[in-house]
Symmetry: C2
Subunit: 352 residues, 2 copies
């Protein structure tokens, strides 16, 4: 924790925004995408934080990922329900706009929903939620990618669908509850990390292409590939499988663009649902209840005295608080990568 490795968040924001603008993004797109990636980093999602900057800008430079706000096309809208086509515009911009749109519906009539098809990579779902919980709204996100197949059916061998996360931000009297969980046992990111570091997975949650359970990441990266078990594993995988199908329906199904269209480019289907408790039992009753429940859970006797019970998002929110006051600690590798990108885009580099 040396002084030199911590960079204040304001400088980082300005630096990253400038990179996106230099790469051709509209100012508004650069601002929104930077905020989402930085929030991912602040919450400790290192694989879905600032390390995505060079991937996203690489995508823009290769022409696969778009950066002009005007590309986001609103195909249907009635104040409560919306459908957008992202045309492969930077995903954090698409999803943020969808959430804003759903939040307007929620503020008007209690609930709003917005579906986006063909968003470029959307990063960390938990990173989108706090602006809404701060306004006393419950914000939910679902996503899938119809061009990718990683997870098997319960009882099946081949990969058919994606990890299909469900994320939600829930207001309380204090810090929000922020959940972001995939409907698979593990994500591709973790399988890749294990392979790269030569480690086994902690549990046998992979299926080899000949139907053997495995904890060896090499059994996933084969031709044809292996698959990841649904949440619940061998014993209760029917539950994760069922929930994943619900996520497919709410995202690619409502989007009218999915696996049936055999898209050949990575592109997310994402659905935002926002609810305003004021239209039901009221915001005070809502946050009283979520705070009461949170306290009950935190007061649970822990099974391991060294590991007290934590609420979803709590660890990330603590990291965020620390980073906001002390600056963000980035790895030298990440700083070098970002500065290399800055040089290439003729932007000032990050001083540290």
């Amino acid at each position: 924790m040396s002084q030199t490795s911590r960079i204040d968040v304001q400088s980082l924001t300005a630096f990253v925004e400038l990179l996106f603008k230099a790469a051709g993004a509209d100012a508004e797109v650069a601002r929104v995408v930077t905020r989402v990636l930085l929030e991912g980093e602040l919450l400790g999602h290192r694989t879905h934080g600032l390390n995505l900057v060079s991937r996203y800008i690489g995508g823009i430079q290769a022409g696969q990922v778009k950066a002009r706000a005007g590309l986001l096309e609103q195909l249907a809208h009635n104040g409560i329900s919306s459908l957008f086509d992202g045309h492969y515009l930077l995903g954090p911009y698409c999803v943020s706009r969808a959430l804003d749109c759903a939040a307007q519906g929620a503020s008007a009539q209690g609930i709003g929903i917005a579906v986006v098809r063909r968003a470029a990579h959307i990063g960390c779902l938990a990173a989108y939620l706090q602006p809404f919980t701060e306004r006393g709204l419950v914000a939910m996100l679902y996503s899938s990618d119809p061009s990718v197949a990683l997870v098997c059916a319960h009882g099946g061998i081949e990969p058919v669908y994606t990890p299909n996360p469900i994320a939600a931000g829930i207001p309380t009297r204090g810090e929000p509850i922020l959940l972001d969980v995939s409907m698979s046992t593990v994500t591709l990111g973790l399988v890749g990390q294990c392979r790269d570091s030569g480690q086994r997975l902690a549990h046998p949650v992979l299926m080899s292409n000949d139907g053997q359970l495995s904890d060896n990441p090499d059994d996933f990266f084969t031709t044809p590939s292996g698959s990841i078990l649904p949440l619940g594993g061998q014993a209760f995988g029917h539950k994760g499988f069922a929930l994943a199908l619900l996520v497919e329906a709410l995202t690619s199904g409502l989007a009218g663009h999915g696996r049936k269209d055999a898209p050949d480019q990575w592109g997310a289907s994402a659905t935002a649902v926002v609810i305003d408790p004021r239209f039901f039992g009221g915001l005070d009753a809502f946050t009283d209840e979520t705070s009461f429940l949170g306290q009950l859970l935190l007061a649970s006797r822990p099974r391991d005295p060294e590991r007290p019970v934590r609420l979803p998002g709590q660890t990330g929110l603590n990291l965020r608080k620390q980073a906001l006051s002390e600056g963000l600690s980035l790895s030298p590798q990440l700083i070098d990568d970002l500065n290399q990108l800055a040089g290439q885009l003729q932007c000032p580099t990050l001083s540290h």
Copy 2:
């Protein structure tokens, strides 16, 4: 499969409706509750089917469960979002009315939501969904019970909350996908069945009151009681835990009535969300996608050749089809119980 054990569904419906009416239920309440319990039975949910008739009528007779439609109080309503207080009215009536209300919102503007607090027992969530999928709607149900604590926090010992199921009906070109899964590893019903039959659970998904993992149902039924692990178990229980908190927020949180109120009577908080795909990519595109995905999954190579992949709800829908054409097969015990109740209520008994 003797002739005598199969009873046609029409006669059963008339018989059960009459029982509820004789017990004091309004005709409309009797009709709706009978339909939901019978649907549960048809889908093969024996523990959440007609065996609930005597429990429900016993509750009415004891004064704990109400049976007059007028008790269902609409506390808030704006065409899209509603809140009801059930005042412990028969749960299937409350939840059906909430779904109807949410479906009206969906048909008007794409999505509708209705929350119910203090519904009496609501039965099997999957049993409510088909009338909506048949109209091309996606219907979702969430429920919790703030008077009951069965499931532990991830990493905690004491039971704090309920299994908190998520159910959904998803239209396809053929049979709907019907999912109904708890956010716990197992339900109390299963733990009780294992205890009654002297069996162990198939997996160590219980936590004894001193923090030991166990597959022995006796470790749950202690004083203080044990608990059930969240979906995901020891390895991935943070996911089931997080989803269960979302369900608590969407049900008891929005209802403004939950654990903070320390209710001393069994009573569900339930939330219905209905979505109309016509307001997004269209119903054809939706059912094309869900059908395409369903076919992909059904074509999966099964891990066990004897057990082909099945879609959520498929087994129940097959049982339902058979029962509708051949009659329902009820256990002699259930028929005796129902006929005893009929005698007590001075109704004609069930001939078989």
